[in-house]
Structure formats: C-alpha cells, structure tokens
Symmetry: C2
Subunit: 375 residues, 2 copies
Amino acid sequence: MPKHAGIHDVARAAGVHPSTVSRVLNARTRHLVTAAVAARVAAAARRLGYTPDPVAAGLRTRRSRAIGVLIPDLANPVFPPIVRGIESVLTDAGYTAVVANTDNEPARARAALERFAARRVDGLVLATALRRDALIARVKALGLPAVLVNRTIEAGAIPAVVNDDAGGIALAVNHLVALGHAAIGHVAGPQRLSTGAARRAGYLAAMKASGIPARGAPVAAARSYDIAAGAQAARALLDARPHLTAIVAANDLLALGCYDELARRGLQCPRDVSVVGFNDMPFADRFSPPLTTVHIPHRLLGVEAARLLLEAIERSGAPAREVRLAPRLVVRGSTAGPRQKPVAPGARLAQRGRRSSPGQPPPRTAAGAPRQRYR
Amino acid sequence: MPKHAGIHDVARAAGVHPSTVSRVLNARTRHLVTAAVAARVAAAARRLGYTPDPVAAGLRTRRSRAIGVLIPDLANPVFPPIVRGIESVLTDAGYTAVVANTDNEPARARAALERFAARRVDGLVLATALRRDALIARVKALGLPAVLVNRTIEAGAIPAVVNDDAGGIALAVNHLVALGHAAIGHVAGPQRLSTGAARRAGYLAAMKASGIPARGAPVAAARSYDIAAGAQAARALLDARPHLTAIVAANDLLALGCYDELARRGLQCPRDVSVVGFNDMPFADRFSPPLTTVHIPHRLLGVEAARLLLEAIERSGAPAREVRLAPRLVVRGSTAGPRQKPVAPGARLAQRGRRSSPGQPPPRTAAGAPRQRYR
DNA sequence: GCGAGTTATGCAATCGTTTGCAAAGACGAT
DNA sequence: ATCGTCTTTGCAAACGATTGCATAACTCGC
C-alpha cells in the first residue's frame, strides 16, 4: 500500500529539492522556477497522485482555508438555503465551511467561536448577530475577518449582507391597504435582533405613510422567532384589538403562530383575518392557507456574504461594505379583502364561518385543515 | 498584544520542559508526571490562557478531530435534524463536524470525499449511500472509519443506522386497509437507494399480508425524492389505475407530488384519494391537507450514527453493527375512508368534487388551497 | 573574457505539538 | 554500600509543508 505521497516523494521522483516542488505547486511562487522543471515536477506530482496536506501547510502559513459559520438553528428552514449559498462559493474558492448552531444562546455562540478560533479559521460568517452583540468584540479581538448575514448589528463597521427589512414590510402593509384593510396589526420579532427592530420600524413607517394614525398601528413583539411565540404574541395583539382584519408578522414562523391563534379563536384566515409573513421559507406555499409573504433571496444572501468575506480576507484594509438585498412580495392564499357585511352572494359562506366562532373552539389540530369535515 | 501562548511559553512559566507540559495536558499521559508538577503546569497554562493548537497536534498525531458528513441536500427538511443530532454528540466528544452536500451526484460526493481525506478527517458519516455505491470502495481504500445513516448499502460490512422501512410502510398500508381501502397504489422512491427498494418491498409484502393479490398492488417509481418526480410518478400510477382510492408514497416530498397530481386531476385528498407519506418532515402537519405519514426519529438517527462512529474510531476492530430504529404512524388529515357511493348526507359535497374532474384542470396553484374561493 | 547583475535552485529553519529514548534520581532488596 | 528497578523528566526527532537566505549558474555589457 503506497501510503500517501508527500512533497518529499515528489521531489525525489522529479530529481529536485522539496522546496522546488513547493514552489511549483503554489501558483503564487511558480514563476520562480523554470518552465521545464515545473513541468517535470507537475508530472511527477500527478503520477504519484500527490495531494497537499492542508494541515501541514496551515501550520506553517497560519491559514487553515476553513471558514466558521455561526447560525441560530439549521432546523429553521430559512437557513439551509443560506448555508448552501455560503458553502457553494467558499468551496469553489478552495475553502471549507464549518457550521455550528447556537440556538440563539450567546454562551453557545461564544463556545463555538472559541472552537473556531482554536482551529484557526481564516474568517467567519455570522448569522446570529444581536443588535448589540458582545460576540463582536471578541471577534475583533481575535482579529478575524467576519461578515454578518441576514441580521446586523447596531453600530460597528462589519461588512454585512441584509434584506431591506423596512422596504419588505412596506410591501406587505401596502398590499393589505390596497385590499381595503385599515385595522392592521403587527406581530413583531424579538427586538434585540436587527430584523425584529427594523421590521417593526418599517411597519410603523408604512402605516403612517398610509395615513393610519399611530394608535391604529398596534404591535405585539414575540420573544423568539418560532411558532409558539408567534401564537402568544398574536393572542396578546387580538386580546387588545379584537377587530383587527389583518396581521403582518415579522417572520413566517410567527405567521404560523398567528394561524394557530386564529384557529383557536374560531377565526378563519383569510376570510376573517388576513396574515402575511416574511422570508418565504421553503414550503410556505404548502401551508393551509398558502402563506402570502415577503420573499427574500435566501441563497443569494449566503452567496453575497461569502463573497464579501473572501474580499475581506484578500484585502484586509477594505472598508466594511453593506449589501442590501431587495425583497419582493409573493401573494398567496392568506390575504384577502376584509370581510363585508353579509350581502347577497357569499353571504352563506360568511355566515357559516361566523356561526362557528363564539362557541367552544374547534379541536386544535393543524390550523384550518379541511380534515374535520371528513372524519 | 500577547499573541497566543504556546506550549513553550507555558513550559517556561512553569519551569519545566515543553514535553512535560504536553504530558500534563494530555489526559492519557498525565499519570506519567508527578502531581505537584502537573498542578504547577496546569496553573501556568490557565494563567496564560493557553489553548492547544489542534492543527499542530494533528500534524504530529495524524488525527484531526474532524468528521466529514456527507448529505444529499441540506435544503431537504429531513436532514437538518439528523445533522443536528450528529453535530451534537460529535461536539460533545470534542470533534468538529464538517458537512458537505452532494445533490445526489456521485461526482460531487467523490470530490467532497477527497477534500475530506485531504483534510485528514478521522471518520465519515454518510447519508448519501446508494445501494451499490462505488464511493464505499474508496472509503475503505482510504481506511477511514465510516457509518451510514438513513440509507444503507446492499452488501458490505459498514455500521449503519437505519429505519425499519418495511415495517413503517406496513404501518401505512395497514392503516389504509383498516379504513376500508383495497385499491392502494405505491409511489416508490428511486430504486438505487435502499430506502426506495426497502419501502417498495415492504409495500408489496404488506399488501400480500392483507390478502390483496399482487396485481392489485401497482407501483410507480420516482426518479428522485422530490415533489416534481412524485407528481410524475403519481400521474403514471393514476393513468394506469384510475380507480385507486389511496396512495402510499415512499417519502413526504413524493406525497406532496401526489397532492399536486391529484389537484391537477380535480381530485380531492382525502375525499377522493387518501395519501400517506414517509419521514414526517418538519411542517408536514401544516400542509393542506395535513399529511398522514410515517414518523422517523430524525434526530435520534443522527445521534446514533455519531455514537456508532465514535465507537468505530475507538476500537477499530469492532464488528459492523447495524442499528434499526422503529418508526411510528402519525395519522393526520390526508387519509380517510374510501368515498361511498352518493348517499343522503355528504352527497352534495361528493358531487361537487366529481363534477370538476373531467373538464380542464383547475389552475395549478398550491395544492388544494381554499384560495380560489376568495379571490 | 571578466565582473556585475539576474535567475533558478538548494539549504535549513520554522510552525506547535507529540513521543521514543535516554538519563537522572529515588527507592528497596540484598 | 551496591546494584537493579521504577519513576520522573529532559532531549531531540518527527509530522509535512513554506520561505528567507545563500549559492550556483547563467546572461550581458563592455
């Protein structure tokens, strides 16, 4: 068994010194050696099936060609496409992406960061940033190039790739206003995250721009971006404003929570209350009802982040650019005009929904499923 | 700025030789040095904030404490929970998981494997195995410990963690039979994958066990595990057997494809045709209708795989164990008894579905969404 | 045809650990 | 007291590359 060929073996085979082999194999130093010798070495390397040992090289050069990627939770469907985007450009550039989940816990983020640092990663992609994040200081102390993706920080010059959150939310409220809604509420995301804060601000601004007074723009913030927190926030929102005809949620999972709370109250979406989400997570078109939501270019987010990082690694002096991607609204089945007072056609349907509402709520299985009709 | 303390600095601080420091810091060799000295060294290490450099250590020991994880596609919602399970136990054991996507392309799998090998990973977990997979030979040639997860190979002694695919499918067909179905078809997965083959075989066996003759058990295999392929297979299946009242799909994405094809034909699920999936992917309960499916313990799959791998790394002589996990059926809204001949109540509804079928199919928006009613 | 300048290659140190081997010291048995 | 055995520590050679410096070879102008 021929073990694995090293630079030494190649050197012997080509009749040159190992250092020459190294120079040939490194694009940056290849011009230092004669074309003839270079060819001989390259041939020998190929013949022996030589592959460089990145750990040995890394020891000498202090570069690992590995990038640490910190994300909140891989199981949240927004992130896989982002990660794939990152991975794709990094791999093409000869880097390896190493991803770790933090579950939104700063302590886990910190631990993962230290592991990355120990492994001497060449840079970081952070999808976990809080608006004011202690981790960033540590990253800077470590002297590691980093870029933020999706979420950004309040102040501090770190390159970032984000969505136009305010613009996206404006799309959503304008859509609802165009449908005839005025009583529109907002289930906001965690306010310690830039996305939560920016979307909330965007909602407020868009409402104002539509001529709706601030008191007509109720907000309930969720503790985290998940279904349960969304349901809880929707509950608070509807308790305070029972006559809302539409909710814009800061995120698709929160929107799903709204679905649940509406079902619990015997309200139908979109007939009684319209809901719009944010992110257009995979399978959002499969929900019941299919979710109207603000689409963000998931994969592109990752791609751009990786590009920015590569750029930062090459020229470490470069100024911190921020790339802002434009979202777009995708209208599906969870939004409709506000319910009319019962009139000639459609009255029967409206009545049917009406009747079921004040009694005990239907068994809380999956939201609004046609299931109960057939069992 | 204090750079980073090395073993050398610790040695100087503690007044001992670097090799002694190394011995103290390695649990396996700590007993070689006096307790007093060990304490002094440990103190110095802590004081200087020493952290070992795994790349330097790896160079010497030929162990990277990194594990390569090969999965088909992170964006397929079955995998994130599995990956998280793997990552969790690996991290606890001091390893780093590095994951790569193959998109089911052997060439990409091969390329990723070579990158892993170059990085000197200590082991592999493979979620990409074909029934007869050339990659395995390469893995063995590399001498890398490996374990298979979810999918397994035809022949060859590699530890694996799989589901009881046949048993799971039996759960599904028995459920349908109990509901009164007899005309049950199977949308099978790719037959080059163990899951595709095992579930198909399981379907055939369960049908036979229910006393349904082989000719009454039609199968159409999908080219890949995705929605489009599922729709295509469902189409072939229903073209051949238009009177099917139920379909068991080899996978949730294929089941979603069935939803689409049924909608295209103006058939309603579950009223006209029941559908059951496999995997219970995240959000399967949110689909329209909520999907009855065979639940597999995603995370546990990953956890067990990682454990098996660790075991294989410790004692490389150990025999290749196979862990088989039990799935369970979760009944939701996509299954119901077969449609009755029109009788007193429910007749109107049945008629409505019936009527829409032969004409041109409804616009293919999201499957079965109530949307069109309101726009 | 000789010295200066240029280029291509070799030499050896280095990156931060681990580990086989040797040496020194401690201890007990004779 | 001497010798052998054990324990504890130091020494130095790896591991597989990269790279500053030295040196040999070659070019070119005069």
